[in-house]
């Protein structure tokens, strides 16, 4: 749970206020879930303009469906699930196929690439060590330099699971509720994703040394 969420009114109070027509309460809900929704949309949708449309779509859906929220999960988890299913429906509708390492391609072979600069500034880290062994170098600062690349070579779903778990600090159960998968499947995806990231980082540094 983030620091912002710790100071929020309880879910049932926020929902009741929104249902009575208080827009300010919905704004609080939006700001509290913005990080989660941004992660979901950013990792699954590559075009910036589509991300903005989808974000609007997600929150308007949340607003319309709020009377149906039954408090079986945290409000944030429910919003995350709406964000995830909305993105999946969008990808299905656009016939975007997942063709492997973190890229989408449509039927015309027209890649939907965009660096999303308005959403995420590239992170640069200073300092490159000179340890003799690539794996030893990974113990230093270099891993920070390549971490984004190692994340982006994963499939979008695995990227999403990694950021939800390691950046949003969400538990496996909560993530499973968002992506509607059994907890074991989420754990298995996370394991493979982390292993793949580690292999990528080791290979990258070995290659750089040549």
């Amino acid at each position: 749970m983030s620091r912002l969420q710790e100071h929020l009114p309880p879910d049932h109070e926020l929902v009741a206020r929104v249902l009575q027509g208080e827009q300010q309460a919905f704004e609080i809900i939006m700001r509290a879930s913005a990080g989660l929704v941004a992660h979901v949309v950013y990792r699954l949708i590559s075009k910036v303009e589509d991300r903005e449309d989808l974000t609007q779509d997600i929150y308007l859906k949340v607003y319309r469906q709020l009377p149906r929220f039954e408090f079986r999960s945290r409000l944030n988890t429910w919003i995350g699930r709406i964000a995830y299913t909305t993105c999946l429906n969008y990808l299905k509708k656009k016939k975007l196929l997942l063709i492997g390492a973190g890229t989408y391609e449509d039927g015309n072979g027209d890649g939907a690439g965009d660096d999303g600069a308005s959403w995420l500034a590239k992170n640069y880290f200073e300092g490159m060590g000179n340890s003799e062994n690539p794996e030893k170098r990974l113990l230093g600062k270099e891993i920070e330099f390549y971490i984004n690349d190692s994340l982006e070579q994963l499939q979008p779903l695995q990227q999403l699971l990694i950021v939800l778990h390691h950046q949003q600090e969400m538990g496996i159960q909560e993530i499973a509720g968002i992506v509607e998968m059994p907890e074991g499947t989420v754990k298995s995806h996370l394991f493979r994703a982390r292993k793949s990231m580690k292999s990528f980082l080791v290979k990258k540094l070995k290659k750089d040394e040549l």
């Binding site: 919905f26 779509d57 971490i147 950046q167 394991f191």
Partner: protein, 151 residues
């Protein structure tokens, strides 16, 4: 035996994430095995780097734009979802059919007084219900992505 085998990757990942602990043999192995120490350190470093990574944010202007699209000051109305209609339809069928089938007075009224075949009546009701449910299921709600104005 444990000295010859490295600690499984999954356990290293979980250990680095603070989820589980090693048993005594594994701790001993870890203290003597440079390879496993490195692997563990890589995972720990990877996790801390992930936390330091810049995270995506939804622009404040976009949140404000969404707020402006909401109906101001009106209570949110409860609207029936298509799935609700399907469930209600199925429940009505499940209640109606046994009543019609086992109630002899209705059966007699339909078949004798009105001259309508009872079987035909049931088949017609079922057919209409199935057709209606099929149309509901086929006409799934679609995402309205792209209908909003771009910023």
């Amino acid at each position: 035996m444990i000295e010859e085998m490295h600690i499984p990757d999954q356990q290293l990942q979980e250990w680095a994430n603070g989820q589980t602990g090693f048993d005594v043999d594994q701790k001993e192995h870890l203290s003597n095995c440079e390879y496993c120490q490195q692997q563990l350190a890589i995972y720990k470093n990877m996790y801390s780097s992930l936390k330091k990574m810049e995270q995506p944010v939804i622009p404040g202007a976009l949140l404000q734009k969404i707020i402006r699209q909401l109906p101001s000051g009106e209570p949110v109305k409860v609207r029936l979802h298509r799935n609700d209609l399907v469930i209600i339809g199925l429940m009505i069928i499940m209640v109606l059919i046994p009543i019609l089938y086992f109630n002899n007075s209705i059966k007699e009224y339909l078949s004798v007084a009105r001259g309508i075949s009872f079987q035909m009546c049931i088949i017609t009701i079922l057919g209409a219900a199935v057709f209606y449910l099929c149309t509901l299921l086929i006409d799934q709600p679609k995402t309205s992505a792209g209908k909003h104005q771009k910023m």
